[in-house]
Symmetry: C2
Subunit: 202 residues, 2 copies
């Protein structure tokens, strides 16, 4: 019998590392996360696809103690203690002015920028969708680096935008604590919807 | 010297399969994509994290010729020919009524459902963000199965919702052609923004 694991083209231990055994970590060891590791993660996940190569994701790495203290009040209370103790927290946001870079990153279509310039709603929808795809690629990249990710959406987005993304063009989506998992790093595994719940064939 | 590839915990050939060499395919061979493969992909990527385990992604697999003909008019013209010839097209949508399942998938917090029940805007924002994360996990899963994905956002979402997601509670996000890459399956690689363009440290 072919098992599901064997139907995939990546080794079972990689399936485990990226998905099956990977867990949202709530505690971390004190081992630091280096800039070199972050560069390796970005240099992998930057290749993930976005509509018209928009790449609207922008990241602020909260590394200094001073910046961490500025971040904490904007998090929901349940997210503060774990973030205070994480070696590194990444704030991931959608750049709603991503179209300014389209002439460089989508050079064969010089009209691409104008498609978005005059349509703010379309631009914001595209920025959020595609930056969200990039958030997921980033989470997979953190795991591919042998690190645990602790993604959070419980925060005051407007407050984080004002504090860490000055200029008004960024929409914070997810904050991610990053490090090696500490003691009792996660809760019990929560149930997943079945294939039948989610997928319909027509 | 440690190269970026060596800083990661997954083999270089898996890095290539999932990100570096993976490309958005525009042509496919006639080799079919089996339901067994789709189940293997879903059973891997269902473990990807979402806020409060929301899992708002819903998928319609367009497999029959009849359904394919119903889909084509809703795609932007540039996406029609390649979709007509793809072995399988998956329509990925956010279920804005995802909160109905929270008592099952987030059982330790019985109040979770009510958090969303009375706040439509909050519910829609959560559905779109988290289903978008799941779209990206799904793309990675297709690649992990040794298949090529051809994600598209150029379509009439309202038309696809009406045709394939009856009931009014679904918001189509991305359509993905799936199969083995055919001849001249992709364009030249488009440039990516640099680490310095995207990441700031504070």
């Amino acid at each position: 019998m072919t098992t599901a694991t064997e139907l995939l083209s990546i080794p079972a231990e990689v399936q485990d590392l990226l998905f099956r055994e990977a867990r949202t970590a709530n505690t971390f060891t004190e081992e630091p996360v280096s800039e070199e590791q972050l560069r390796a993660i970005y240099d992998l996940v930057k290749w993930g696809p976005t509509s018209m190569n928009q790449q609207p994701l922008r990241v602020v790495l909260v590394r200094s103690e001073e910046a961490r203290q500025r971040l904490l009040p904007h998090l929901m209370e349940g997210n503060r203690a774990k973030t205070e103790r994480a070696p590194l927290t990444a704030l991931l946001a959608a750049d709603t002015e991503f179209h300014e870079r389209l002439p460089e990153v989508f050079p064969h279509n010089p009209g691409a920028k104008n498609l978005f310039a005059d349509n703010e709603e379309f631009r914001h929808t595209n920025a959020k969708l595609n930056a969200s795809l990039q958030v997921a690629y980033f989470i997979i990249g953190v795991r591919a680096a042998g690190l645990a990710a602790g993604p959070m959406t419980g925060f005051d987005g407007a407050g984080i935008a004002e504090e860490f993304f000055p200029g008004g063009a960024h929409h914070p989506l997810v904050a991610i604590n990053i490090g090696k998992p500490g003691e009792n790093a996660w809760f019990g595994r929560l149930p997943r919807l079945s294939y039948e719940d989610v997928v319909t064939t027509v």
